[in-house]
Symmetry: C2
Subunit: 254 residues, 2 copies
Amino acid sequence: MVIALANQKGGVGKTTTAVNLSASMAVAEQRTLIIDLDPQCNTTSGFGINYNGLYAHIYHVLIGTKQMKEIIRKTQVPFLDIAPAHPDLIGAEVELLDAEEREFVLRKVLEGLSETYTYIFIDCPPSLGLLTINALAASDSVIIPLQCEYFALEGLAGLQRTITIIKKRLNPDLNIMGILLTMFDKRNNLSFRVWEEVNKCFNEGVFKTVIPRNVKLSESPSYGKPVLLYDISSKGAESYLDLAFEILDTKGDK
Amino acid sequence: MVIALANQKGGVGKTTTAVNLSASMAVAEQRTLIIDLDPQCNTTSGFGINYNGLYAHIYHVLIGTKQMKEIIRKTQVPFLDIAPAHPDLIGAEVELLDAEEREFVLRKVLEGLSETYTYIFIDCPPSLGLLTINALAASDSVIIPLQCEYFALEGLAGLQRTITIIKKRLNPDLNIMGILLTMFDKRNNLSFRVWEEVNKCFNEGVFKTVIPRNVKLSESPSYGKPVLLYDISSKGAESYLDLAFEILDTKGDK
Ligand SMILES: Nc1ncnc2c1ncn2[C@@H]1O[C@H](COP(=O)(O)OP(=O)(O)OP(=O)(O)O)[C@@H](O)[C@H]1O
Ligand SMILES: Nc1ncnc2c1ncn2[C@@H]1O[C@H](COP(=O)(O)OP(=O)(O)OP(=O)(O)O)[C@@H](O)[C@H]1O
Ligand SMILES: [Mg+2]
Ligand SMILES: [Mg+2]
């Protein structure tokens, strides 16, 4: 199953979810691959990989000079591999414009990988450009991380419209797996207002698991590791393990 | 003076700074214009404007069907006008690719406006695409909002490289007015680590004013007003007024 983490709103927890949900799935012994499709390379550095040292990364695969198996590497978490990014990806947005079937470049290179990996996660940049469109065209499902803030709520309707268009034109099988509320702060009334509003408007389209604001989640990337290797007892680590099991329970994999 | 708020990292406080710094400059009786160049339209809604009701906005100006003076409107703050955005702006990234001198479209339409406005602020989207490049090519200075978080710090070197390239190729007068630390949380050690690191590496290129994490700043957009109209006594309102006076003091305007 291919799952994109997408939201054009910036800083809502796409990368934090990609890194920590993929690690939690691996801990549940699901063969997992994480693909970093953001030129910022935050997922790549979240696993302690320095993009400067990379001679093979996702940009090479998108422009066709390397295959996926040449760029995939192990992470420090068993059952979890990564396809790292590089800042060269910035060029891919323009270079892909002239490619044949430019929206399906990623989908084509992922063919066959579902035999090796049960879950493939794709971390997207904060925009609706060709990189994110490629991710949505290649995915079975999309998880929408949503910060418990006003601006994040405002952007939701626009994002849903975009996903509907992608579903109609590029990928009829794409479904929204759920909206994931992130950085929930129980001291802050706004978090409760956003929680109520989202649950009212989207009903069962919202994950029961809510990710709290937790400093260990923002510290762990500076140590180059997912939070469950940095501080397994933290609320941050616990909440992403809960999310992994919520997904596994609904999918029937135990 | 034209000032861009830019950083490809998402959620670092570009919009919050654009809205509240422009309002603070207006309170200091400086004729100010705020331009929303982000298809998310967060600056536009931060002033209570619903983009659905707009028949004239910045997209029309970029594609050449309207002039700036036809789209500029007053805000609820005296001395502050706004050039609002609309989601159609998403299309501009691709449509501008074929335009003549596509990086200078905004610069050309802003000519002459500096006679009416002492300060013109431009809120940018979280990417380094043509919209942000247009903003940087049109600006005298750029303010880099930087969240006191690890991923934000990581992206800084890349952003500086981009600004150097823009300066060399498109706009030799562009200078970095300063790095603005945002969402500083004195309960969180990471904030102090980022503050030390940034001041060590960039020295006088960092504003003395630091914006604290303050719930009034994230609540005020849901009431469609800058924080100084929502809660003038809040730390959030105070810090943006301090920033305005720090800029005015260095520029010599009192
Ligand atoms: N639950 C949380 N608690 C505390 N901090 C968090 C949490 N989730 C994310 N963060 C921090 O907030 C910032 C934004 O999160 P993140 O970078 O994951 O968002 P993003 O959507 O991937 O951003 P971008 O749009 O730039 O790709 C990061 O510095 C991250 O460490
Ligand atoms: N100092 C602050 N204290 C508390 N909340 C803040 C502060 N600054 C910004 N916020 C909130 O954090 C979120 C991100 O800020 P903002 O939207 O201004 O960032 P941005 O860089 O413009 O994001 P984008 O990259 O999506 O354009 C918003 O919900 C905003 O209300
Ligand atoms: Mg990210
Ligand atoms: Mg913004």
